[in-house]
Protein backbone atom coordinates (compact mmCIF):
# COMPACT_ATOMS: atom_id res chain seq x y z
CA UNK A 1 0.00 0.00 0.00
CA UNK A 2 2.73 2.41 0.95
CA UNK A 3 4.65 1.39 -2.14
CA UNK A 4 1.67 2.15 -4.29
CA UNK A 5 1.28 5.64 -2.86
CA UNK A 6 5.00 6.24 -3.02
CA UNK A 7 5.35 4.92 -6.54
CA UNK A 8 2.21 5.46 -8.55
CA UNK A 9 0.86 8.51 -6.77
CA UNK A 10 4.30 10.07 -6.54
CA UNK A 11 4.90 9.54 -10.23
CA UNK A 12 1.55 10.99 -11.10
CA UNK A 13 2.01 14.08 -8.95
CA UNK A 14 5.53 14.62 -10.23
CA UNK A 15 4.58 14.27 -13.91
CA UNK A 16 1.55 16.47 -13.38
CA UNK A 17 3.81 19.13 -11.83
CA UNK A 18 6.20 19.00 -14.78
CA UNK A 19 3.35 19.12 -17.28
CA UNK A 20 1.91 22.09 -15.44
CA UNK A 21 5.22 23.93 -15.68
CA UNK A 22 5.52 23.04 -19.36
CA UNK A 23 1.97 24.23 -20.01
CA UNK A 24 2.76 27.47 -18.17
CA UNK A 25 5.68 28.11 -20.52
CA UNK A 26 3.45 27.50 -23.54
CA UNK A 27 0.74 29.66 -22.05
CA UNK A 28 3.20 32.53 -21.60
CA UNK A 29 4.31 32.33 -25.23
CA UNK A 30 0.72 32.18 -26.42
CA UNK A 31 -0.35 35.05 -24.17
CA UNK A 32 2.53 37.12 -25.43
CA UNK A 33 1.49 36.79 -29.06
CA UNK A 34 -2.14 37.36 -28.09
CA UNK A 35 -1.51 40.45 -25.94
CA UNK A 36 0.68 42.13 -28.55
CA UNK A 37 -1.80 41.36 -31.30
CA UNK A 38 -4.79 42.43 -29.20
CA UNK A 39 -2.96 45.56 -28.04
CA UNK A 40 -2.22 46.49 -31.62
CA UNK A 41 -5.75 45.68 -32.77
CA UNK A 42 -6.91 49.29 -32.61
CA UNK A 43 -4.06 50.41 -34.86
CA UNK A 44 -4.63 47.56 -37.31
CA UNK A 45 -8.35 48.35 -37.38
CA UNK A 46 -7.87 52.10 -37.91
CA UNK A 47 -5.35 51.81 -40.73
CA UNK A 48 -5.91 48.27 -41.96
CA UNK A 49 -3.21 45.63 -41.55
CA UNK A 50 -1.40 46.40 -44.81
CA UNK A 51 -2.21 50.07 -44.46
CA UNK A 52 -0.37 50.04 -41.15
CA UNK A 53 2.53 47.98 -42.45
CA UNK A 54 2.98 50.15 -45.56
CA UNK A 55 2.01 53.45 -43.97
CA UNK A 56 4.95 55.83 -43.89
CA UNK A 57 3.57 58.58 -41.66
CA UNK A 58 4.28 58.49 -37.93
CA UNK A 59 2.73 61.53 -36.39
CA UNK A 60 1.35 61.56 -32.86
CA UNK A 61 -0.32 64.95 -33.28
CA UNK A 62 -2.21 64.03 -36.45
CA UNK A 63 -2.79 60.51 -35.06
CA UNK A 64 -1.40 58.98 -38.25
CA UNK A 65 0.69 55.88 -37.70
CA UNK A 66 2.46 53.49 -40.05
CA UNK A 67 5.26 51.03 -39.45
CA UNK A 68 6.97 51.27 -42.84
CA UNK A 69 9.85 53.62 -41.84
CA UNK A 70 10.73 51.38 -38.89
CA UNK A 71 10.36 48.16 -40.82
CA UNK A 72 12.70 49.51 -43.49
CA UNK A 73 15.04 50.89 -40.83
CA UNK A 74 15.25 47.50 -39.13
CA UNK A 75 15.81 45.62 -42.38
CA UNK A 76 18.41 48.04 -43.76
CA UNK A 77 20.46 48.40 -40.57
CA UNK A 78 20.53 44.70 -39.77
CA UNK A 79 21.27 43.61 -43.33
CA UNK A 80 24.06 46.19 -43.63
CA UNK A 81 25.50 45.17 -40.26
CA UNK A 82 25.43 41.53 -41.28
CA UNK A 83 27.14 42.32 -44.60
CA UNK A 84 29.92 44.10 -42.70
CA UNK A 85 30.25 41.43 -40.04
CA UNK A 86 30.05 38.29 -42.16
CA UNK A 87 33.55 37.93 -43.62
CA UNK A 88 35.49 38.97 -40.51
CA UNK A 89 33.33 36.67 -38.38
CA UNK A 90 33.93 33.77 -40.77
CA UNK A 91 37.66 34.52 -40.83
CA UNK A 92 37.82 34.50 -37.05
CA UNK A 93 35.91 31.21 -36.97
CA UNK A 94 38.27 29.61 -39.51
CA UNK A 95 41.29 30.92 -37.64
CA UNK A 96 40.06 29.48 -34.34
CA UNK A 97 38.85 26.15 -35.69
CA UNK A 98 41.46 25.45 -38.40
CA UNK A 99 44.59 27.58 -38.44
CA UNK A 100 45.57 28.76 -35.00
CA UNK A 101 47.63 26.65 -32.61
CA UNK A 102 45.67 25.39 -29.66
CA UNK A 103 46.69 28.01 -27.10
CA UNK A 104 45.92 30.88 -29.46
CA UNK A 105 42.64 29.34 -30.59
CA UNK A 106 41.49 28.94 -27.00
CA UNK A 107 42.46 32.49 -26.10
CA UNK A 108 40.69 33.97 -29.13
CA UNK A 109 37.58 31.84 -28.61
CA UNK A 110 37.45 32.86 -24.96
CA UNK A 111 37.79 36.54 -25.84
CA UNK A 112 35.06 36.32 -28.47
CA UNK A 113 32.71 34.65 -26.00
CA UNK A 114 33.54 37.33 -23.46
CA UNK A 115 32.70 40.08 -25.93
CA UNK A 116 29.45 38.39 -26.89
CA UNK A 117 28.45 38.70 -23.23
CA UNK A 118 29.00 42.47 -23.08
CA UNK A 119 25.59 44.16 -22.67
CA UNK A 120 23.96 46.20 -25.39
CA UNK A 121 23.88 49.39 -23.29
CA UNK A 122 27.65 49.24 -22.89
CA UNK A 123 28.10 49.10 -26.67
CA UNK A 124 25.66 52.01 -26.88
CA UNK A 125 27.56 54.04 -24.31
CA UNK A 126 30.83 53.46 -26.15
CA UNK A 127 29.08 54.29 -29.40
CA UNK A 128 27.82 57.65 -28.19
CA UNK A 129 31.09 58.87 -26.75
CA UNK A 130 33.73 57.21 -28.94
CA UNK A 131 32.30 55.98 -32.21
CA UNK A 132 30.00 58.91 -32.97
CA UNK A 133 32.73 61.61 -32.73
CA UNK A 134 35.12 59.35 -34.64
CA UNK A 135 32.66 58.65 -37.45
CA UNK A 136 31.55 62.28 -37.60
CA UNK A 137 35.01 63.86 -37.76
CA UNK A 138 36.91 61.34 -39.81
CA UNK A 139 34.34 59.76 -42.07
CA UNK A 140 31.14 61.72 -42.48
CA UNK A 141 32.38 65.30 -42.57
CA UNK A 142 35.23 64.70 -45.03
CA UNK A 143 32.90 62.71 -47.26
CA UNK A 144 30.21 65.34 -47.02
CA UNK A 145 32.62 68.19 -47.82
CA UNK A 146 34.03 66.23 -50.72
CA UNK A 147 30.58 65.58 -52.14
CA UNK A 148 29.63 69.23 -51.66
CA UNK A 149 32.54 70.19 -53.89
CA UNK A 150 32.53 67.44 -56.46
CA UNK A 151 29.16 65.71 -56.48
CA UNK A 152 26.36 67.83 -55.04
CA UNK A 153 23.83 65.23 -56.10
CA UNK A 154 25.25 62.87 -53.52
CA UNK A 155 24.57 65.20 -50.60
CA UNK A 156 20.94 64.22 -50.33
CA UNK A 157 21.87 60.54 -50.24
CA UNK A 158 24.51 61.08 -47.58
CA UNK A 159 22.39 63.19 -45.25
CA UNK A 160 23.49 65.39 -42.36
CA UNK A 161 26.98 64.44 -41.11
CA UNK A 162 26.22 64.66 -37.40
CA UNK A 163 27.51 61.23 -36.42
CA UNK A 164 24.17 60.25 -34.92
CA UNK A 165 22.33 58.19 -37.48
CA UNK A 166 22.22 55.07 -39.60
CA UNK A 167 25.95 54.71 -40.25
CA UNK A 168 26.93 54.70 -36.57
CA UNK A 169 24.08 52.37 -35.69
CA UNK A 170 25.12 49.94 -38.43
CA UNK A 171 28.76 49.99 -37.31
CA UNK A 172 27.90 49.26 -33.68
CA UNK A 173 25.42 46.57 -34.71
CA UNK A 174 28.10 44.92 -36.82
CA UNK A 175 30.51 44.95 -33.87
CA UNK A 176 27.84 43.45 -31.64
CA UNK A 177 26.89 40.55 -33.89
CA UNK A 178 30.43 39.61 -34.93
CA UNK A 179 31.18 37.57 -31.78
CA UNK A 180 27.83 35.81 -31.98
CA UNK A 181 28.08 34.98 -35.69
CA UNK A 182 31.67 33.91 -35.26
CA UNK A 183 30.99 31.50 -32.43
CA UNK A 184 28.10 29.90 -34.34
CA UNK A 185 30.29 29.50 -37.44
CA UNK A 186 33.06 28.08 -35.27
CA UNK A 187 30.70 25.45 -33.86
CA UNK A 188 29.60 24.49 -37.37
CA UNK A 189 33.20 24.16 -38.58
CA UNK A 190 34.16 22.04 -35.59
CA UNK A 191 31.50 19.50 -36.55
CA UNK A 192 33.34 18.65 -39.78
CA UNK A 193 34.79 15.15 -39.28
CA UNK A 194 38.53 14.89 -39.11
CA UNK A 195 38.55 12.07 -41.67
CA UNK A 196 37.18 14.42 -44.33
CA UNK A 197 40.12 16.76 -43.86
CA UNK A 198 42.67 13.98 -43.73
CA UNK A 199 41.40 12.45 -46.95
CA UNK A 200 41.91 15.78 -48.67
CA UNK A 201 45.39 16.25 -47.21
CA UNK A 202 46.29 12.75 -48.36
CA UNK A 203 45.49 13.86 -51.89
CA UNK A 204 48.11 16.56 -51.50
CA UNK A 205 45.81 19.53 -50.94
CA UNK A 206 47.09 22.70 -49.30
CA UNK A 207 45.50 23.96 -46.12
CA UNK A 208 43.42 26.55 -47.92
CA UNK A 209 42.20 23.97 -50.41
CA UNK A 210 41.05 21.80 -47.53
CA UNK A 211 39.17 24.72 -46.02
CA UNK A 212 37.72 25.81 -49.33
CA UNK A 213 36.75 22.42 -50.75
CA UNK A 214 35.95 20.36 -47.66
CA UNK A 215 35.40 22.38 -44.52
CA UNK A 216 33.28 25.21 -45.88
CA UNK A 217 31.01 23.05 -48.07
CA UNK A 218 30.50 20.58 -45.24
CA UNK A 219 29.76 23.29 -42.70
CA UNK A 220 27.77 25.56 -44.99
CA UNK A 221 24.40 24.68 -43.47
CA UNK A 222 25.59 25.54 -39.98
CA UNK A 223 27.34 28.68 -41.18
CA UNK A 224 24.31 29.95 -43.07
CA UNK A 225 22.00 29.16 -40.18
CA UNK A 226 24.42 31.04 -37.92
CA UNK A 227 24.32 34.00 -40.28
CA UNK A 228 20.52 34.07 -40.22
CA UNK A 229 20.50 33.78 -36.42
CA UNK A 230 22.93 36.70 -36.26
CA UNK A 231 20.52 38.61 -38.48
CA UNK A 232 17.72 37.80 -36.03
CA UNK A 233 19.92 39.13 -33.23
CA UNK A 234 20.50 42.34 -35.15
CA UNK A 235 16.78 42.74 -35.87
CA UNK A 236 15.90 42.55 -32.18
CA UNK A 237 18.83 44.58 -30.92
CA UNK A 238 17.42 47.54 -29.07
CA UNK A 239 19.48 49.63 -26.70
CA UNK A 240 22.66 50.35 -28.67
CA UNK A 241 20.63 51.18 -31.77
CA UNK A 242 18.23 53.41 -29.84
CA UNK A 243 21.19 55.35 -28.44
CA UNK A 244 22.84 55.88 -31.83
CA UNK A 245 20.32 55.97 -34.63
CA UNK A 246 18.80 59.35 -33.86
CA UNK A 247 15.20 58.12 -33.70
CA UNK A 248 13.45 59.89 -36.52
CA UNK A 249 10.15 58.77 -37.96
CA UNK A 250 11.30 59.70 -41.49
CA UNK A 251 11.86 57.07 -44.11
CA UNK A 252 15.50 55.96 -43.82
CA UNK A 253 16.78 57.15 -47.18
CA UNK A 254 20.08 58.75 -46.25
CA UNK A 255 23.30 57.09 -45.17
CA UNK A 256 24.31 59.41 -42.35
CA UNK A 257 20.88 60.69 -41.41
CA UNK A 258 18.76 59.75 -38.41
CA UNK A 259 16.31 56.86 -38.70
CA UNK A 260 14.63 54.40 -36.35
CA UNK A 261 14.10 50.68 -36.12
CA UNK A 262 11.06 48.82 -34.84
CA UNK A 263 12.79 48.03 -31.57
CA UNK A 264 14.17 51.54 -31.14
CA UNK A 265 10.85 53.29 -31.72
CA UNK A 266 9.24 51.10 -29.05
CA UNK A 267 12.07 51.73 -26.59
CA UNK A 268 12.02 55.43 -27.32
CA UNK A 269 8.32 56.26 -27.38
CA UNK A 270 6.47 53.66 -25.37
CA UNK A 271 6.99 55.14 -21.91
CA UNK A 272 5.80 58.56 -23.10
CA UNK A 273 3.07 57.46 -25.46
CA UNK A 274 0.00 59.61 -25.16
CA UNK A 275 -3.38 58.48 -26.27
CA UNK A 276 -4.66 55.04 -26.99
CA UNK A 277 -3.92 55.03 -30.70
CA UNK A 278 -0.19 55.73 -30.30
CA UNK A 279 0.11 53.08 -27.60
CA UNK A 280 -1.78 50.65 -29.77
CA UNK A 281 0.39 51.49 -32.77
CA UNK A 282 3.55 50.81 -30.77
CA UNK A 283 2.14 47.47 -29.65
CA UNK A 284 1.29 46.75 -33.28
CA UNK A 285 4.91 47.52 -34.22
CA UNK A 286 5.92 45.07 -31.48
CA UNK A 287 3.60 42.47 -32.98
CA UNK A 288 5.17 42.96 -36.41
CA UNK A 289 8.65 42.74 -34.88
CA UNK A 290 7.65 39.45 -33.28
CA UNK A 291 6.40 38.11 -36.63
CA UNK A 292 9.60 39.22 -38.34
CA UNK A 293 11.92 37.57 -35.81
CA UNK A 294 9.77 34.46 -35.88
CA UNK A 295 10.05 34.26 -39.65
CA UNK A 296 13.82 34.78 -39.60
CA UNK A 297 14.30 32.11 -36.93
CA UNK A 298 12.16 29.65 -38.86
CA UNK A 299 14.29 30.27 -41.96
CA UNK A 300 17.43 29.56 -39.91
CA UNK A 301 15.87 26.36 -38.62
CA UNK A 302 14.88 25.32 -42.13
CA UNK A 303 18.36 25.96 -43.51
CA UNK A 304 19.96 24.05 -40.67
CA UNK A 305 17.75 21.07 -41.44
CA UNK A 306 17.95 21.18 -45.24
CA UNK A 307 21.55 22.15 -45.87
CA UNK A 308 23.38 20.22 -43.18
CA UNK A 309 25.41 17.19 -44.03
CA UNK A 310 25.30 14.22 -41.65
CA UNK A 311 24.64 15.10 -38.04
CA UNK A 312 22.56 18.16 -38.74
CA UNK A 313 19.72 16.04 -40.08
CA UNK A 314 17.79 14.69 -37.16
Amino acid sequence: MRDKIYGQLGDRVFTAGLVLLGLAVMLIAGLMAWELGAGGWEAFRSFGFWGFVRGSAWNAVAEQFGAWPFLLGTLITSAAALALAFLPALAAAIAVAEYAPRWLAEAVAYLIDLLAALPSVVYGLWGIFVLVPLVRDHLEQPLFLWSAEHAPALMGVLGPPTGIGMLSAVLVLALMIVPYASSLARDAIRLVPRAQREAMYALGATRWEVVRRVVLPYARGGIFAGVILALARAIGETMAVTMLIGNSGQLPYSVFGPAATMASVIANEFAEAEGGLQLSSLLAVGFLLMLLSLAVNLVADFILRRMSVGEGRK
Binding site: V25, A91, L175
Partner: protein, 275 residues
Protein backbone atom coordinates in the same frame (compact mmCIF):
# COMPACT_ATOMS: atom_id res chain seq x y z
CA UNK B 1 54.85 26.39 -61.33
CA UNK B 2 51.27 25.37 -60.68
CA UNK B 3 52.33 24.06 -57.29
CA UNK B 4 54.04 27.32 -56.47
CA UNK B 5 50.85 29.20 -57.25
CA UNK B 6 48.87 26.93 -54.97
CA UNK B 7 51.33 27.45 -52.14
CA UNK B 8 51.20 31.18 -52.71
CA UNK B 9 47.44 31.20 -52.55
CA UNK B 10 47.56 29.12 -49.36
CA UNK B 11 49.87 31.65 -47.68
CA UNK B 12 47.74 34.53 -48.88
CA UNK B 13 44.60 32.99 -47.41
CA UNK B 14 46.30 32.34 -44.08
CA UNK B 15 47.26 36.00 -43.97
CA UNK B 16 43.73 37.10 -44.89
CA UNK B 17 42.13 34.86 -42.27
CA UNK B 18 44.37 36.21 -39.54
CA UNK B 19 43.78 39.73 -40.78
CA UNK B 20 40.03 39.18 -40.51
CA UNK B 21 40.46 37.83 -37.01
CA UNK B 22 42.40 40.93 -36.03
CA UNK B 23 39.66 43.05 -37.58
CA UNK B 24 37.21 41.34 -35.23
CA UNK B 25 39.32 41.39 -32.11
CA UNK B 26 40.91 44.84 -32.22
CA UNK B 27 37.77 47.01 -32.09
CA UNK B 28 36.22 44.73 -29.49
CA UNK B 29 39.34 44.80 -27.32
CA UNK B 30 39.40 48.56 -27.76
CA UNK B 31 35.82 48.79 -26.43
CA UNK B 32 36.66 46.59 -23.47
CA UNK B 33 39.82 48.56 -22.67
CA UNK B 34 38.02 51.87 -23.05
CA UNK B 35 35.24 50.83 -20.67
CA UNK B 36 37.85 49.69 -18.19
CA UNK B 37 39.93 52.89 -18.30
CA UNK B 38 36.95 55.26 -18.23
CA UNK B 39 35.06 53.20 -15.67
CA UNK B 40 37.81 52.67 -13.14
CA UNK B 41 38.03 56.43 -12.54
CA UNK B 42 34.35 56.60 -11.59
CA UNK B 43 34.44 53.77 -9.07
CA UNK B 44 34.87 55.06 -5.53
CA UNK B 45 33.30 54.59 -2.11
CA UNK B 46 30.41 56.97 -2.83
CA UNK B 47 29.64 55.13 -6.06
CA UNK B 48 28.85 51.97 -4.13
CA UNK B 49 27.23 53.47 -1.03
CA UNK B 50 25.22 56.54 -2.00
CA UNK B 51 21.98 57.17 -3.86
CA UNK B 52 22.22 59.46 -6.91
CA UNK B 53 22.67 63.20 -6.39
CA UNK B 54 20.09 65.56 -7.93
CA UNK B 55 20.68 66.19 -11.66
CA UNK B 56 23.74 68.30 -12.38
CA UNK B 57 25.15 68.17 -8.88
CA UNK B 58 28.43 66.37 -8.25
CA UNK B 59 28.68 63.27 -6.10
CA UNK B 60 26.11 60.62 -5.46
CA UNK B 61 26.31 56.99 -6.37
CA UNK B 62 24.68 53.90 -7.70
CA UNK B 63 23.53 52.08 -4.58
CA UNK B 64 19.83 51.86 -5.56
CA UNK B 65 20.73 50.51 -8.99
CA UNK B 66 23.15 47.95 -7.57
CA UNK B 67 20.62 46.73 -5.00
CA UNK B 68 17.86 46.77 -7.62
CA UNK B 69 19.90 44.74 -10.11
CA UNK B 70 20.28 41.96 -7.57
CA UNK B 71 16.64 42.06 -6.41
CA UNK B 72 15.16 42.10 -9.92
CA UNK B 73 17.52 39.50 -11.34
CA UNK B 74 17.18 37.08 -8.43
CA UNK B 75 13.39 37.27 -8.55
CA UNK B 76 13.58 36.63 -12.28
CA UNK B 77 15.93 33.70 -11.74
CA UNK B 78 13.52 32.16 -9.21
CA UNK B 79 10.60 32.34 -11.66
CA UNK B 80 12.50 31.57 -14.85
CA UNK B 81 14.50 28.83 -13.12
CA UNK B 82 11.40 26.99 -11.94
CA UNK B 83 9.66 27.08 -15.32
CA UNK B 84 12.82 26.43 -17.31
CA UNK B 85 13.90 23.51 -15.14
CA UNK B 86 10.42 22.00 -15.23
CA UNK B 87 10.25 22.21 -19.01
CA UNK B 88 13.79 20.93 -19.44
CA UNK B 89 13.25 17.93 -17.15
CA UNK B 90 10.00 17.09 -18.90
CA UNK B 91 11.64 17.14 -22.33
CA UNK B 92 14.67 15.07 -21.28
CA UNK B 93 13.19 12.58 -18.82
CA UNK B 94 9.80 11.97 -20.41
CA UNK B 95 10.71 11.86 -24.12
CA UNK B 96 7.48 10.00 -24.86
CA UNK B 97 5.25 12.74 -23.46
CA UNK B 98 2.97 14.31 -26.10
CA UNK B 99 3.62 17.81 -24.74
CA UNK B 100 7.29 17.65 -25.75
CA UNK B 101 7.03 18.53 -29.42
CA UNK B 102 4.98 21.69 -29.00
CA UNK B 103 7.02 22.61 -25.92
CA UNK B 104 10.30 22.40 -27.83
CA UNK B 105 8.83 24.50 -30.61
CA UNK B 106 7.66 27.11 -28.11
CA UNK B 107 11.08 27.17 -26.43
CA UNK B 108 12.76 27.80 -29.78
CA UNK B 109 10.27 30.51 -30.63
CA UNK B 110 10.64 32.23 -27.25
CA UNK B 111 14.41 32.10 -27.59
CA UNK B 112 14.26 34.02 -30.85
CA UNK B 113 11.98 36.83 -29.72
CA UNK B 114 13.69 40.17 -29.03
CA UNK B 115 14.03 41.08 -25.38
CA UNK B 116 12.17 44.36 -25.71
CA UNK B 117 9.00 42.43 -26.57
CA UNK B 118 9.25 40.69 -23.19
CA UNK B 119 9.10 44.17 -21.71
CA UNK B 120 6.07 45.09 -23.83
CA UNK B 121 4.31 41.92 -22.75
CA UNK B 122 5.11 42.49 -19.07
CA UNK B 123 3.77 46.02 -19.43
CA UNK B 124 0.46 44.92 -20.88
CA UNK B 125 0.15 41.84 -18.72
CA UNK B 126 1.50 43.00 -15.34
CA UNK B 127 2.02 46.76 -15.22
CA UNK B 128 -1.39 47.76 -16.57
CA UNK B 129 -3.48 45.39 -14.41
CA UNK B 130 -1.43 46.21 -11.31
CA UNK B 131 -1.72 49.92 -11.92
CA UNK B 132 1.93 50.94 -11.97
CA UNK B 133 5.56 50.21 -12.78
CA UNK B 134 7.09 47.59 -10.54
CA UNK B 135 10.24 45.56 -10.01
CA UNK B 136 8.07 42.46 -10.19
CA UNK B 137 6.96 43.24 -13.73
CA UNK B 138 10.61 43.69 -14.71
CA UNK B 139 11.42 40.32 -13.20
CA UNK B 140 8.60 38.74 -15.18
CA UNK B 141 10.05 40.15 -18.40
CA UNK B 142 13.55 38.91 -17.57
CA UNK B 143 12.21 35.52 -16.44
CA UNK B 144 10.61 34.98 -19.86
CA UNK B 145 13.98 35.81 -21.39
CA UNK B 146 15.65 33.19 -19.18
CA UNK B 147 13.16 30.35 -19.68
CA UNK B 148 14.29 29.11 -23.12
CA UNK B 149 17.98 29.33 -22.18
CA UNK B 150 17.50 27.33 -18.98
CA UNK B 151 15.22 24.84 -20.69
CA UNK B 152 17.66 24.12 -23.47
CA UNK B 153 20.64 23.86 -21.12
CA UNK B 154 18.79 21.53 -18.72
CA UNK B 155 17.60 19.28 -21.51
CA UNK B 156 21.07 19.04 -23.02
CA UNK B 157 22.76 18.17 -19.74
CA UNK B 158 20.20 15.52 -18.82
CA UNK B 159 20.43 13.98 -22.29
CA UNK B 160 24.17 13.42 -21.84
CA UNK B 161 23.63 11.23 -18.77
CA UNK B 162 23.63 7.53 -19.72
CA UNK B 163 20.31 5.69 -19.70
CA UNK B 164 21.97 3.00 -17.57
CA UNK B 165 21.91 5.43 -14.66
CA UNK B 166 18.11 5.59 -14.85
CA UNK B 167 17.82 1.86 -15.41
CA UNK B 168 19.99 1.17 -12.37
CA UNK B 169 17.65 3.26 -10.25
CA UNK B 170 14.53 1.66 -11.67
CA UNK B 171 16.03 -1.81 -11.15
CA UNK B 172 16.38 -1.02 -7.47
CA UNK B 173 12.65 -0.44 -7.38
CA UNK B 174 12.74 3.34 -7.27
CA UNK B 175 9.78 5.05 -8.91
CA UNK B 176 10.55 7.36 -11.78
CA UNK B 177 10.16 10.58 -9.83
CA UNK B 178 12.70 9.42 -7.26
CA UNK B 179 15.11 8.44 -10.02
CA UNK B 180 14.80 11.94 -11.48
CA UNK B 181 15.05 13.77 -8.17
CA UNK B 182 17.69 11.68 -6.40
CA UNK B 183 19.82 10.31 -9.24
CA UNK B 184 19.49 12.39 -12.37
CA UNK B 185 19.31 15.93 -11.02
CA UNK B 186 22.24 15.49 -8.58
CA UNK B 187 24.32 13.92 -11.35
CA UNK B 188 23.57 16.85 -13.65
CA UNK B 189 23.96 19.52 -10.96
CA UNK B 190 27.01 21.19 -12.49
CA UNK B 191 25.50 21.54 -15.92
CA UNK B 192 22.20 22.80 -14.57
CA UNK B 193 23.95 25.45 -12.49
CA UNK B 194 25.84 26.48 -15.62
CA UNK B 195 22.58 26.93 -17.51
CA UNK B 196 21.08 28.98 -14.69
CA UNK B 197 24.15 31.23 -14.46
CA UNK B 198 24.35 31.76 -18.22
CA UNK B 199 20.67 32.71 -18.30
CA UNK B 200 21.25 35.07 -15.37
CA UNK B 201 24.21 36.70 -17.13
CA UNK B 202 22.22 37.11 -20.32
CA UNK B 203 19.24 38.71 -18.57
CA UNK B 204 21.27 40.87 -16.19
CA UNK B 205 22.75 42.86 -19.07
CA UNK B 206 19.40 43.71 -20.64
CA UNK B 207 18.00 47.18 -20.26
CA UNK B 208 15.30 47.00 -22.92
CA UNK B 209 12.78 44.81 -21.02
CA UNK B 210 13.09 47.06 -17.94
CA UNK B 211 12.40 50.39 -19.65
CA UNK B 212 8.66 50.32 -19.05
CA UNK B 213 8.43 47.69 -16.35
CA UNK B 214 10.93 48.31 -13.52
CA UNK B 215 11.18 51.87 -14.85
CA UNK B 216 13.89 53.11 -12.43
CA UNK B 217 13.86 54.75 -9.05
CA UNK B 218 16.43 57.12 -7.52
CA UNK B 219 15.81 55.80 -4.01
CA UNK B 220 16.84 52.53 -2.45
CA UNK B 221 13.88 50.20 -2.65
CA UNK B 222 13.24 46.61 -1.71
CA UNK B 223 9.56 46.77 -2.56
CA UNK B 224 8.91 44.38 -5.46
CA UNK B 225 5.60 46.11 -6.18
CA UNK B 226 7.16 49.54 -6.63
CA UNK B 227 9.49 50.86 -9.33
CA UNK B 228 13.13 49.90 -8.91
CA UNK B 229 16.42 50.80 -10.53
CA UNK B 230 18.87 48.52 -12.25
CA UNK B 231 22.41 49.00 -13.58
CA UNK B 232 21.68 48.60 -17.30
CA UNK B 233 18.73 50.94 -17.02
CA UNK B 234 20.86 53.50 -15.20
CA UNK B 235 23.60 53.29 -17.83
CA UNK B 236 21.06 54.08 -20.53
CA UNK B 237 19.47 56.99 -18.65
CA UNK B 238 22.82 58.49 -17.65
CA UNK B 239 24.42 57.99 -21.08
CA UNK B 240 21.80 60.08 -22.87
CA UNK B 241 21.68 62.72 -20.10
CA UNK B 242 23.38 66.09 -20.53
CA UNK B 243 25.18 66.01 -17.17
CA UNK B 244 28.90 65.33 -17.07
CA UNK B 245 28.78 63.74 -13.63
CA UNK B 246 26.08 61.31 -14.72
CA UNK B 247 27.99 60.37 -17.86
CA UNK B 248 31.08 59.74 -15.73
CA UNK B 249 29.05 57.46 -13.51
CA UNK B 250 27.55 55.68 -16.54
CA UNK B 251 31.09 54.54 -17.40
CA UNK B 252 31.56 53.33 -13.84
CA UNK B 253 28.29 51.43 -13.99
CA UNK B 254 29.23 49.94 -17.37
CA UNK B 255 32.49 48.65 -15.93
CA UNK B 256 30.76 47.27 -12.84
CA UNK B 257 28.11 45.54 -14.93
CA UNK B 258 30.70 44.11 -17.33
CA UNK B 259 32.73 42.77 -14.40
CA UNK B 260 29.64 41.22 -12.78
CA UNK B 261 28.72 39.49 -16.03
CA UNK B 262 32.27 38.25 -16.54
CA UNK B 263 32.34 36.78 -13.03
CA UNK B 264 28.98 35.10 -13.65
CA UNK B 265 30.19 33.66 -16.95
CA UNK B 266 33.40 32.49 -15.31
CA UNK B 267 31.49 30.74 -12.54
CA UNK B 268 29.23 29.14 -15.14
CA UNK B 269 32.23 27.72 -17.00
CA UNK B 270 33.75 26.45 -13.78
CA UNK B 271 30.53 24.73 -12.73
CA UNK B 272 30.44 22.97 -16.08
CA UNK B 273 34.05 21.80 -15.81
CA UNK B 274 33.52 20.44 -12.30
CA UNK B 275 30.65 18.22 -13.32
Amino acid sequence: MNLRRRYLRDRLMVALVYLGTLLVLLPLLFILGYVFVKGIGALNWDFFTKPPAPPGEPGGGMLPAIVGTFVIDLMALAMGGLLGLGGGVLMAEYPEHPLNRPLRLVANVLGGIPAILMGLFAFVFVVVPMGGFSAFSGSVALAILMIPIIMRATEEVLRILPWELREAGLALGLPRWRVTLSLILPAAKGGIVTGLLLALARAAGEAAPLLFTAFGNPFISFDPLGPMDSLPLKIYVYAISPYEEWIRQAWGAALLLALLLMVTNFLARRALRRS
